[in-house]
Amino acid sequence: MNHADIGTITVRGGVVLRASPAREPCFRVVEDQARMAKFPDGSLEHRREMLHGDLNEEVQSLEIAAQSLVDFPDAPWDIRLQLARQCWDEVRHARAFLARLIELGGHKGEFPIINQEWGVVCMFDSLVGRLAVQNRLFEGGSLDVLKQGVEVLTGWGDPTTAEILDAVAADEVQHVRFANGWLERLRKEDPRSLLKAIAAMDALRQWSLALTPPEMKMEHDIPVNVEDRRDAGFTVE
């Protein structure tokens, strides 16, 4: 497959997303969150499904960072360098999740996967839009999810997976931080360029409403990971 071959797809709510990146035949790629597997909380199947999903999330994050290196060759070198480093970080995370999945008796392709993060982020035609959504919003949100995951997995008696999540969270702080740092620099030096970040966030809000199946609306808020968010350059009030 050539990179120009990745077109677009229309999914739930008529939302147009970038089509999936290449996957091995063992994976069943779905386009709707409602078709993902569900298991009782804390069960072995649930933990394996979670790790399988985390593996695919990390692979998508790698693909998004890599695609941004391709799509924005004129971006400042320090940002490109950070994106390249992010590629390696996401690789290490993917390997850790895959190894743990196998330890727990799972395997690649055991559950359906969805590539919505890639599909959403790669629709944005500016690096500032992609970093605002992928690094600041998605990875910023993952700081909250990962911290809660560490506590939940420890409570389920799985400190090994909890340790992996904690290490991943530490790396994600830097991915959020460099994006926040660049956005802050742009705010001072070229505030008009941030309009693309704002437009991307607006588009994301609309797409999220359309893409989330009604039965999957969040019933409770995830606690904010104040320490990591502050470390990543967010102003926490």
Binding site: M1, N2, H3, D5, I6, P21, A22, R23, E24, P25, V59, L62, E63, A66, Q67, L69, V70, P73, W77, R80, L81, A84, R85, C87, W88, E90, V91, A94, R95, L98, K108, W118
Partner: protein
């Protein structure tokens, strides 16, 4: 004859251009390669190439060039890399990277090291030593990848041999700085 400061700057800036292009080539291949392990290997090596480019880019500033300055190689070599980036089959991508490009880069860096004064160009040689260390590791990782993923373990032997031969046809890949190269041509 050993390379002078200007020639060393040209070489370092050209190497930087190549490292960035190869980084971009692997980045382009990551989303379009189906095999997970291959994606992960390419993703790892994106960071290696980026670091090489960064170290070389710091050195360009010490050789009377701007920081992170790149110089395109001779057009034929640039075209060779552009064609390589269009490779689509995973086994060919793996072979192109680990059996052709990395050994070729290793050869070119060693050749550079043999053409400079180790005292006067010590800082570049330190960078080159690190890059050579990385290139050897990356080739080992490429072999481990093929041990792990039989689908990419072998490729068309004639194709890879032709690719290697083509790469070696470019004996001197350094074009030099455009304005000065033009002036030299005019003088000739």
């Amino acid at each position: 004859m050993q390379l002078n400061v200007k020639q060393r700057g040209d070489h370092v800036a050209t190497f930087r251009w190549i490292e960035v292009r190869v980084m971009e080539m692997l980045a382009r291949w990551v989303p379009t390669t189906p095999e997970t392990e291959v994606k992960l290997a390419f993703g790892t090596h994106i960071w290696d190439f980026a670091q090489h480019a960064d170290h070389l880019g710091k050195r360009t500033h010490e050789l009377r060039l701007p920081p992170q300055f790149s110089l395109a190689p001779v057009p034929g070599y640039a075209l060779f890399l552009a064609d390589l980036a269009e490779t689509t089959a995973s086994d060919r991508r793996v072979a192109a990277c680990y059996d052709c490009l990395l050994p070729a880069l290793e050869r070119r860096y060693r050749e550079y090291a043999s053409r400079v004064d180790p005292l006067l160009d010590g800082p570049t040689l330190r960078i080159v030593e690190h890059i050579l260390f990385d290139l050897a590791r990356m080739q080992k990782e490429g072999q481990a990848l093929r041990d792990e993923v039989p689908a990419v373990a072998t490729t068309d032997a004639a194709w890879i041999a032709a690719l290697r031969r083509h790469e070696m046809e470019f004996t001197d890949i350094v074009l030099g700085r455009p304005a000065e190269a033009a002036a030299e041509r005019d003088a000739a």
